[in-house]
């Protein structure tokens, strides 16, 4: 499984880039199977760390996606609305979900490093 070096990871399989962009990991998209719908958050929504921020639906189930850190939603990826399969095909690129303005820039450091996340998923 692909685990990029420039990202930090939540135990619940979301990734966070230094610019606040959030998506789900390659491992997560593989576990979820074909993504067919993404329920994105509203821009301006304030989320606490670990709070449900959006919902990704695969053919078989709806899965909650959590905010890896606290913050305000400042952008959403409109492309995954019309083409949800991007979450499967490019989970770290075109398949990103939303962008956060973190409440506390240091919160990112509480998330898992690529090595720790790799160890988690085995």
């Amino acid at each position: 499984m692909n685990v990029p070096e420039d990202l930090r990871f939540a135990e619940s399989h979301e990734w966070l880039r230094a610019d606040g962009t959030v998506g789900i990991t390659d491992h997560a998209q593989h576990e979820l199977t074909d993504v067919v719908f993404v329920d994105l958050p509203e821009i301006g929504k304030q989320v606490a760390a670990g709070q449900v921020a959006c919902v990704v639906e695969s053919v078989k189930a709806a899965s909650d996606i959590y905010a890896p850190v606290a913050g305000t939603v400042i952008a959403v990826n409109e492309a995954v609305r019309s083409n949800p399969a991007l979450v499967n095909t490019a989970p770290y690129a075109e398949g990103w979900l939303f962008k956060l303005e973190p409440k506390d820039a240091a919160a990112r450091e509480t998330l898992k490093s690529p090595a720790d996340y790799r160890a988690q998923i085995g």
Binding site: T33, V59, K60, A62
Partner: protein, 369 residues
């Protein structure tokens, strides 16, 4: 993973699923593949070419004896006397209230020799129900563990069958069953399925399951066969509005309410649940199982979502999902008959938001004329 502390049963094909990279999940107490290449990909393979499913978890009961047909007609809704040797029918087993215990297929193997194929999760309950009502001149044997099952489904199934048996036998006609020695022992091959496509269901000795599975995949290669999991099995059956026991059928709903009157023979004499069904036929029903299709792009509906009409809740969904063929959310729900007419606009509540759906005629997937 909530099922991790439950010991899941494995079919004889478990090792093949792992080897093929199948993604395994707990289903009705069994460790079964939900998908291999992907649910949507497998769904299209069955609609356009050929797919093979492991259905070894399903149960096989054998009923024999001079009184077998009379007894089966008291236990089941359809009329077994209509079956010629080698013929099968879809039927239901009801409780005294007319509610569904299980839906199953019954085949007449010889005059007084019957094969019943029941749902995996209902094997023990069905058997106990039947056993406790068994007369002296009938025997009932649960041979579920002796058999593996494969469903080969798709528009290329007939051509595949000829290649598979190498001209050793003619394909059984729709709803018929043949017995054939295809290596490793006697195998029952029925022209049945749960996908809405042409296809076969093979029930072979558990010990020869791996060989049969690999023979099917090898002979199916020329027909673009794909191994398929329970995920595609569910989307395929839902497009056809075939009920799934536990979702769409329950001990609280009758076959009349489920829209399965065609499989109920009220003229054949008494059977368990008949009085309730006869009364419903005469006086009408309050609710009916309807199919619906979501309007536009919405999250896929799933089971137990509230259903509204004009602001009032009128029911809840019992099955739901995305239809790969229609590229839209689809589902089924028991709704008041006043709201059950095709064309009726309803609303499905998905996580607190309501999305418009239209009641549609069954099946949702229209077969080409």
């Amino acid at each position: 993973m909530s099922e991790s502390n439950i010991v899941l049963k494995r079919t004889p094909l478990h090792g093949e699923h792992v080897r093929l990279g199948g993604k395994l999940i707990g289903f009705g107490g069994w460790d079964m593949p939900v998908q291999y290449s992907g649910i949507i990909d497998e769904h299209h393979a069955v609609r356009k070419a050929l797919g093979v499913f492991d259905i070894s978890h399903m149960g096989q009961f054998f009923v024999e004896g001079a009184g077998a047909s009379a007894w089966l007609n008291r236990m089941l809704t359809n009329n077994v006397e209509r079956l010629a040797i080698g013929q099968g029918q879809y039927t239901l087993m009801l409780n005294e209230r007319g509610g569904v215990i299980d839906d199953l297929l019954i085949y007449r193997i010889c005059d007084d020799d019957w094969l019943l194929v029941v749902n995996a999760s209902m094997i023990d309950e069905d058997f106990a129900w039947m056993q406790s009502r068994l007369p002296a001149d009938v025997t009932l044997v649960n041979r579920s563990d002796e058999f593996a099952g494969l469903a080969v489904q798709g528009p290329k199934a007939a051509a595949w069958f000829d290649a598979y048996v190498g001209g050793k036998c003619e394909a059984p006609a729709r709803n018929h069953i043949v017995r054939l020695d295809i290596g490793g022992g006697q195998t029952f091959i029925a022209r049945t399925g749960y996908t809405g496509e042409d296809g076969f269901e093979l029930f072979c000795p558990a010990a020869s399951a791996v060989q049969v599975w690999n023979d099917v995949l090898a002979s199916g290669a020329a027909f673009d066969i794909k191994p398929c999991g329970l995920g595609a099995r569910d989307t395929l059956r839902l497009e056809m509005c075939y009920p799934l026991n536990g979702n769409d059928l329950s001990p609280e709903r009758t076959p009349i309410e489920a829209g399965l009157s065609f499989f109920v023979d009220l003229q054949k004499g008494d059977f368990i649940g008949r009085a309730v069904l006869a009364a419903q036929k005469e006086h009408g029903i309050e609710r009916r199982l309807v199919a619906f299709k979501m309007k536009g792009t919405t999250p896929p509906p799933r089971s137990h979502y509230p259903v509204y009409r004009d602001g009032t809740q009128i029911g809840e969904t019992c099955s739901g999902g995305l239809s790969p063929t229609l590229a839209a959310g689809i589902g089924m729900a028991y709704l008041p008959v006043a709201d059950a007419t095709p064309g009726t606009p309803i609303e499905i509540d998905i996580r607190g938001r309501r999305f418009t759906a239209i009641v549609e005629k069954k099946p949702l997937r229209k077969t080409k004329a």
